[in-house]
């Protein structure tokens, strides 16, 4: 048996509260116009990721695979990758191919950047049968054993930006252009971010943007690369922006925001996901700062409507106790929002292994600090064990919380990803003042419904 150093406290993960890196990367790649994801590794991962994404978005989700077989795992995946690139180019005619790796490819130490250089050289010399097509290629290294789907998500953004945003040469004209790097949010959220950005009246790049490609309309014929997505040219312009707002605090040492700052001198504003009044205020004010324009009146009105709703519903939520779980940044934003309305997030959990998570959540809780269990590297069995003691009133999180809800007999209010046991998961609005309002209404109403159902006579007015 292999001898292992230290680490004797091994446990299994039971009902994981996280997903693997290439999934996050693929979503980003689907959010770039004309780009197709290609997973370098064995077939299964790509199929599972497709299936998982489809069950939430209910849209086709074409992801190619370089399809390792036994000999590939032994001799390396160069030939498979080359064949895959040829075939994907010929059949999908993409403008870009984003390559993301699996654990397997990473473990055998595939030097993908080198392969890509060789491939490009061969293609330039006419050595590849790609019908004269020459998509841009870029690569995100996404070994899942090093992180979760969120690591893959941020990694793919960095890969796209560093490949496409013209490095080094900062365009002399300082524009009022905004870069907005989004987090893993719903398609509806991305549409809301578009409305917000548009309202400032300056050019912008929103990356990634799968608002159309993963929540589009009907088709006349099969769309190989569904419409929508951040334009490659717009990613190319990110280096000339007046500032980057990066939503969610990326876990990595190096992320696209930092990259743009270091290589192109674009100032970076890290912001929490805009859920809750304070997070939104911070978000809007950075947009205002970058663009040099005041926050449009429209949003002031939304904000005021949200506060009005907070007041209308405060009685139903203040002092209530919630379980929240999911991606670190998403949970932090939810925690801040719940804190604003007086709900104690008695459990805030993430499946990611992140020592900074505790401090992050504590920082989000300005009003309450009592009775909060903050768990990183958690699975649903652990969450349930903690929840039993803490008597929560409701659960706010994705579909995998159904077991908690059944076991604890409390409502599950679905948000985040995946929501695959309801229609419209991709259309849940969480962000902005409007998104917050949506979540607030959902919470109040489901608490009221729970109460209504418990009261044997029922009650018909507030």
């Amino acid at each position: 048996m292999t001898v292992s150093v230290a680490e004797e406290n091994y446990t299994s993960t039971r009902n994981a509260c996280k997903l693997c890196s290439p999934l996050g990367a693929c979503l980003v790649l689907r959010g770039i116009e004309g780009c197709i994801p290609l997973i370098h590794g064995s077939q299964g991962c790509s199929t599972y990721i497709r299936r998982y994404g489809i069950s939430h978005f209910r849209e086709p989700l074409d992801i190619a695979s370089s399809n390792f077989v036994e000999s590939t795992a032994i001799f390396g995946g160069r030939e498979n990758l080359f064949t895959a690139l040829d075939n994907v180019t010929r059949s999908y005619k993409p403008e870009a191919i984003g390559i993301t790796s699996t654990c397997l490819a990473e473990t055998i130490g595939e030097d993908v950047p080198m392969y890509l250089r060789q491939y490009l050289a061969s293609r330039e010399k006419g050595g590849r049968d790609t019908k004269g097509l020459a998509p841009v290629l870029f690569y995100a290294s996404t070994p899942s054993y090093k992180g979760t789907h969120m690591d893959g998500f941020h990694e793919a953004i960095l890969a796209a930006v560093s490949a496409l945003a013209g490095f080094g040469e900062r365009v002399p004209v300082k524009t009022d252009r905004i870069n907005l790097v989004s987090n893993f949010v719903s398609a509806e959220d991305l549409r809301e971010l578009h409305s917000i950005l548009q309202s400032f009246g300056v050019p912008y790049t929103l990356l990634p943007d799968y608002s159309e490609s993963l929540d589009g309309g009907t088709w006349e014929t099969y769309q190989k690369l569904p419409e929508g997505g951040t334009k490659i040219a717009d990613i190319g312009r990110m280096g000339e922006a007046a500032g980057t707002v990066y939503l969610g605090i990326p876990p990595g040492k190096k992320d696209a925001g930092k990259w743009l700052e270091e290589n192109c001198g674009v100032p970076l504003f890290r912001r929490e996901l805009p859920i809750g009044i304070e997070n939104n205020d911070a978000f809007f004010s950075s947009l205002s700062e970058i663009s040099g324009k005041p926050v449009p009146d429209l949003w002031e009105r939304q904000r005021s409507r949200l506060i009005d709703a907070y007041i209308d519903g405060h009685k139903y939520v203040n002092g209530k106790r919630a379980v929240i779980y999911g991606e670190e940044d998403f949970v932090a934003a939810l925690a801040a929002f719940l804190d604003e309305i007086g709900v104690v997030p008695v459990i805030a959990a993430t499946g990611a292994s992140n020592p900074g998570f505790k401090a992050h959540i504590q920082g989000a809780l300005k009003n309450t600090r009592r009775d909060v269990e903050i768990l990183d590297d958690a699975d649903f069995v652990t969450i349930l064990a903690h929840a039993r003691e803490l008597a929560p009133d409701f659960i706010l999180g994705h579909s995998k919380g159904l077991y908690l809800s059944r076991e604890l007999g409390i409502p599950l209010i679905r948000c985040g990803f995946p929501v695959h046991d309801r229609i419209g998961g991709q259309r849940i609005l969480h962000l902005g003042y409007r998104g917050t309002l949506n979540l607030f209404d959902l919470i109040c109403n489901s608490l009221m419904e729970a109460k209504q159902n418990q009261f044997d006579k029922g009650y018909t007015y507030l």
């Binding site: 048996m1 599972y48 086709p60 014929t221």
Partner: protein, 489 residues
């Protein structure tokens, strides 16, 4: 024209037009967006329904996370199978090996859930870092006294079919463990029935009414102890033959149990499945019971089907499922609804399977092995299908192309097996195909226009041909008249 990758040309054929033997049972082409999964997937779906065993997935988290509750297999008792256990290995173990973690995880899970067996699925990376999973399993088995069985399901080591084989090998290790519980003289095992949406219960009830005992269902609503005495049943009835024939063969070899292959989908196949068993036992009572059962079920079912058939007559369907046996039954079942299958394929068919598909389908039917979204969507439109039967990944393809869809996959919640399953199937097909929403679909509108144009062109052509024929006839008549005249003269 539907584009097919050069490397896949031999995996797609049109009946009546192309004459070659379909190429199959090979790994998916690199860079094609294959609809199929991996070896692990094959093993996982077969063993999953064993509800009193711990299923531990050894590897990084993805493989486990994506298959949590993937199958709709129900259990009448314990529900351990519905939980997702993983060693969730990290970088540290990738470097130093995952054996210690595996050992700890097994001890922890077996201690906490008191299962009757444990399966350890090896995923890609485990095959690579070379953990001695056999040794760890043997050690834990000795310590805890329940079977702890490694399943060699490294994703890259073949196709889903190889995963079936690995699962059969794992299940076979449980067979023969219990040699005391009495088993009837007319008893069978059901192999390859997974109790999706409770289908095993439907099938078991039929056999019970026939007077046949079911010793074990491997693996629907499965229990370790049942599989342990399966070796003493008199006949193995294999339903999902793609996945379980291998186990049947092993049991035949070691325990001398013969096997037959059946399908529980559709009226003919379901009835044949029951009659085949009855005939095997050559028992008057059983035969009589079977006749009665089939008669009463079919008589009750047919009038209800006729209702649905009224609306479905003449509609066309595409079928793309995992196993080809399922595809055969679907072609026949659709025929009962008045529907023709115009596109059909599977992820794992063998050459014989595709030959048989060729036999039972009409001229012009497209037959595909290991397809992808581009081909599938193209053929659906080209052949004018109104319905697609498939799994989750096929669903949005159908919907975007503006046609109905029926789930025939692991996770479905409607029972489709047996006579009542046929009725559910008909209802689901009917509900989807007759929904008024399709008329708003652009793909459908375009297809209708194209069909109309084709019809008009055909009519014009026919008119032209008729005219030409008339002219020719007239000319002929004139000629004949002339000839006649000549003769007369």
């Amino acid at each position: 024209m539907v584009e097919v990758l050069a490397a896949r040309k031999q995996q797609v054929l049109e009946k009546g037009k192309d004459v070659f033997n379909i190429e199959c049972e090979k790994p998916s082409t690199a860079g094609s967006v294959s609809q199929r999964a991996c070896v692990f997937c094959g093993s996982r779906v077969v063993l999953y329904p064993i509800a009193d065993a711990v299923h531990l997935i050894h590897g990084p988290i993805g493989c486990a996370a994506y298959t949590w509750e993937l199958r709709g297999s129900l259990s009448s008792g314990p529900e351990l199978h519905r939980l997702s256990f993983s060693t969730d290995i990290r970088e540290h173990e990738v470097i130093y090996g995952g054996e210690k973690k595996l050992y700890a995880a097994l001890k922890e899970l077996i201690g906490a859930y008191k299962p009757n067996a444990a399966f350890v699925y090896c995923t890609c990376i485990i095959g690579l870092i070379g953990d001695d999973v056999e040794a760890v399993c043997a050690k834990v088995e000795k310590e805890v006294g329940i079977p702890v069985i490694p399943v060699h399901s490294e994703g890259f080591k073949g196709t889903k079919k190889d995963g079936y084989k690995a699962a059969c090998e794992a299940a076979f290790k449980l067979v023969g463990k219990d040699d005391i519980t009495p088993v009837s003289k007319t008893s069978i095992n059901i192999l390859g029935e997974f109790n999706l949406a409770g289908e095993t219960w439907i099938i078991k009830d039929y056999y019970k009414r026939m007077g046949v005992e079911v010793t074990a269902c491997i693996t629907g609503d499965g229990r370790v102890a049942e599989i342990g005495r399966a070796h003493r049943a008199k006949l193995n009835v294999v339903q999902c033959s793609g996945s379980m024939t291998y186990l049947a063969k092993m049991m035949e070899e070691k325990y001398g149990i013969p096997y037959i292959r059946v399908s529980y989908f559709g009226i003919e196949d379901m009835s044949k499945a029951l009659y085949d068993v009855a005939e095997y036992f050559k028992d008057e009572t059983i035969l009589h019971n079977t006749q009665e059962l089939v008669k009463s079920e079919v008589n009750a079912l047919l009038p209800k089907l006729t209702e649905y058939r009224k609306d479905l007559e003449g509609k066309k369907a595409g079928v793309y499922v995992g196993g080809s046996f399922k595809a055969f039954s679907m072609v026949k079942a659709l025929r009962h609804l008045g529907m023709e299958t115009v596109v059909v394929g599977s992820q794992t068919g063998s050459p014989e399977d595709y030959e048989y598909l060729k036999e039972i389908t009409n001229e012009g039917t497209i037959i595909l092995d290991d397809t992808n979204p581009l081909e599938l969507s193209g053929f659906i439109l080209e052949k004018g299908a109104d319905l697609l039967i498939g799994g989750v990944k096929e669903r949005p393809i159908a919907y975007k192309m503006g046609i109905g869809f029926c789930d025939h996959n692991h996770e479905r919640k409607e029972a489709l097996a047996g006579y009542e399953g046929m009725l559910n199937f008909a209802r689901e097909v009917h509900t989807s195909v007759t929904s008024p929403v399709w008329k708003y679909s652009p793909a459908r509108i375009k297809a209708a226009e194209a069909a109309q144009a084709a019809e008009a062109a055909q009519a014009a052509e026919a008119a032209q041909a008729a005219e030409a024929a008339q002219a020719a006839e007239a000319a002929q008549a004139a000629e004949a008249a002339r000839a006649g005249k000549e003769i007369l003269v």
